[in-house]
Amino acid sequence: MALLEVEDLHVSFNTADGVVKAVRGLTFSVDRGQTIGIVGESGSGKSVSTQTIMGLTAGARVSGEARFEGQNLLTMSDKELRSVRGAKVGMIFQDPLSSLHPYYKVGWQIVEMVRAHTNVSKAAAKNRAIDLLRLVGIPKPEARVDEYPHQFSGGMRQRAMIAMAMALNPILLIADEPTTALDVTVQAQVLDVMERLQQEFGTAIVMITHDMGVIADIADDVVVMYAGTAMEKAERRELFYHNHHPYTEGLLASIPQPGADRTKRLLPIHGTPPSLIQLPTGCPFHPRCPYAFDKCVAETPPLRSVHGRTDHESACWLPTDESERVAERTRVQAVLAAQSEIDTEVAKDLTEVTA
């Protein structure tokens, strides 16, 4: 049995403009000690889905199941949920300044969290807070434990958040864009700490990010989300080197690769993500997909096993066989190349007009 099994999760919100379908039928599972990466652009539903699992989306309409150690989190009472949150499942959020309370000392916040779930004394809890701060690489933790969040730098705040999340040796750590607000060198420090903690405690990590680089670094399995649903699921290397879904392909092609030919243009995905109130028919990606054909507009593709692997699923109508898929890619890329030449011509004409 997997540690966390999310099945057919739907989350929607009523707004003045209509019903926002933030998550639409998301299924994934996390094993003990595993790192699963959930990647997607803003508005793809990656944060909402994990927040819902933890009971943090008040006012949302939720259906589906999220079983943690066999118990459905979505039907738990508040009290039961509170005993899971923090103790068994730790959480780290993107913005460390707004997730730490500005009025209370950092150490006190960790102590409070420890004492809410255990029967240890205040002194023991404070010692633990100091150890944890030392563990995540905060200098002079004995002094820092009595400082306020504003006295910490951004990277230190995020590390304090990690310390708090890890305080009770959780089995699962949900990290929602933990490094997005940080500089690369600080990001390296934070990822380093998370990896070390995972090795030591065997914590499973759900890493939510929009950064394919972070995914390539630490994830075992990857879920690619778009418009509230999983587009592709695969083991990390399979996803990077043998991806099937055009959205995954597009995401990877949009990133400038270090060492790549700089005169080559990036290949962005055209258009913008769809509105979650009025989704396109069929595959939600079809308006932006260079491969789209009639069936994509009419029918929503289910997640199917592709490339002859059971652990690689993709929600796309393109051929599931890898060689056929590659042939299709070559064909479409040739068409795109021809198109971009035409675009350049148009642009040249334009400059003459504006000059």
């Binding site: 255990t118 690369v184 070390r196 030591e200 680089g213």
Partner: protein, 389 residues
């Protein structure tokens, strides 16, 4: 201290022709005034003596972490801030002391694209009027001609000209950034300072804007100063790159030299920390994890600003500020400010500083702490089950 031309600029034009010369620019902000009438003595040394040249048609990338002064420098160059010391020479003319009408003349040629596509557009004004602002301010083009020109600009940056009368909130982040680009292009500037133009955007949209900027550069012969913290983006767009740390340039070189043979330990650490979207490359790479945080720019460290975190730091780094000159037999175009530059193939992750630094924990310490944590009674099995019942 300037870097003479070594490589031809990609964007075309005469490569030896200097468009912008920044010399020893210093920008300080006073802080912490305790009394209303007494001037404060503390200052933030945001930009601390930066010099470089920007050639016509090239793109100079400027990288560094939060608080290194890159945005302040951009604002000094565009004269949104007046500088504390040094000079900024644009097109052979010192613009650092200009005022009023003379300054306005310069602003025609030097434009800026801002980071936040939400904050940099007035939400109460229509897009057409936002883009035509430059014409109104500089008193060029009237009436129908102005509108026609704005619509041409919109088309040039890939917006639908029929959306002339819409408000910014009707556009997505990427489209808003295009509006910002159109506004910057309106007066046909020579230099565009791009301050983190893509960092607020999703990756697929980011690529659209990068391509747009590249196209505009090759078509209009623009010169860019491109500021970003994303090193992959900077590598993709730049001809030369300057690395900044605590208000100073740590290293400046052609993009391939800098990414291939980084000399400054900080450049090395920065490059090793960049997440690469390639699992095999990520597995092979040795991340250099720097200790501690960036020191306060109010009291920057003595000597080399980086010595408090540098794995190669020695006594001289504390006392003597290294000059920005070619190191280890590099060409004149590759300068680094370091006493102990990193040779090719040197393994920095094993290096240890010869001076005392504020290090939080050693690897061995961490192991002991971890082991202690796991064994502490009362923590491994919290009593929450009873609570839940």
């Amino acid at each position: 201290m300037s870097a003479p031309a070594t490589a031809p600029a990609r964007g075309g034009g005469d490569s030896s022709d200097v468009l912008l010369r920044v010399e020893n620019v210093v920008k300080e902000f006073p802080v912490g005034s305790t009394s209303l009438f007494r001037r404060s003595r503390d200052v933030v040394h945001a930009v601390d003596g930066v010099s470089f040249e920007l050639r016509r048609g090239e793109t100079l990338g400027l990288v560094g972490e939060t608080g290194c002064g890159k945005s302040t420098l951009a604002r000094c160059i565009t004269r949104l801030y007046s500088i504390t010391g040094g000079s900024v020479e644009f097109d052979g003319k010192d613009i650092s002391k200009l005022e009023g009408g003379d300054l306005r003349e310069v602003r025609r040629d030097v434009q800026m694209i801002f980071q936040d596509p939400y904050g940099s557009l007035n939400p109460r004004r229509r897009v057409g009027s936002i883009i035509s602002d430059p014409f109104a301010i500089h008193g060029t083009l009237q009436g129908a001609a102005r509108k026609r020109r704005v619509q041409e600009l919109m088309e040039l940056v890939g917006l639908n000209p029929e959306h002339y009368n819409r408000f910014p909130n009707e556009f997505s982040g990427g489209q808003r950034q295009r509006i910002g680009v159109a506004r910057a292009l309106a007066l046909q500037p020579k230099l565009i300072v791009c301050d983190e133009p893509v960092s607020a955007l999703d990756v697929s949209i980011q690529a659209q804007i990068i391509n747009l900027l590249a196209d505009l550069q090759s078509e209009l012969g623009l010169t860019y100063l491109f500021i970003a913290h994303d090193l992959s983006v900077v590598q993709h767009v730049s001809d030369r790159v300057a690395v900044m740390y605590l208000g100073k340039v740590a290293e400046l070189a052609d993009v391939d030299d800098l990414y291939g043979h980084p000399r400054h330990p900080y450049s090395n650490a920065l490059l090793s920390a960049v997440p690469v979207a390639d699992p095999n490359a990520a597995a092979q790479r040795e991340r250099i994890v720097l200790i501690g945080d960036v020191p306060s720019p109010i009291h920057p460290p003595s000597g080399c600003h980086f010595h408090t975190r540098c794995p190669k730091a020695q006594e001289i780094c504390v006392t003597e500020d290294p000059a920005l000159v070619p190191r280890l037999g590099d060409g004149p175009g590759h300068v680094a400010a370091c006493h102990f530059p990193v040779a090719d193939g040197e393994d920095l992750s094993k290096a240890r500083a010869a001076i005392e630094q504020e290090d939080a924990t050693d690897a061995e310490d961490v192991g002991a702490v971890l082991a202690g944590l796991a064994d502490t009674p009362g923590f491994t099995e919290p009593t929450r089950q009873e609570e839940a019942r």
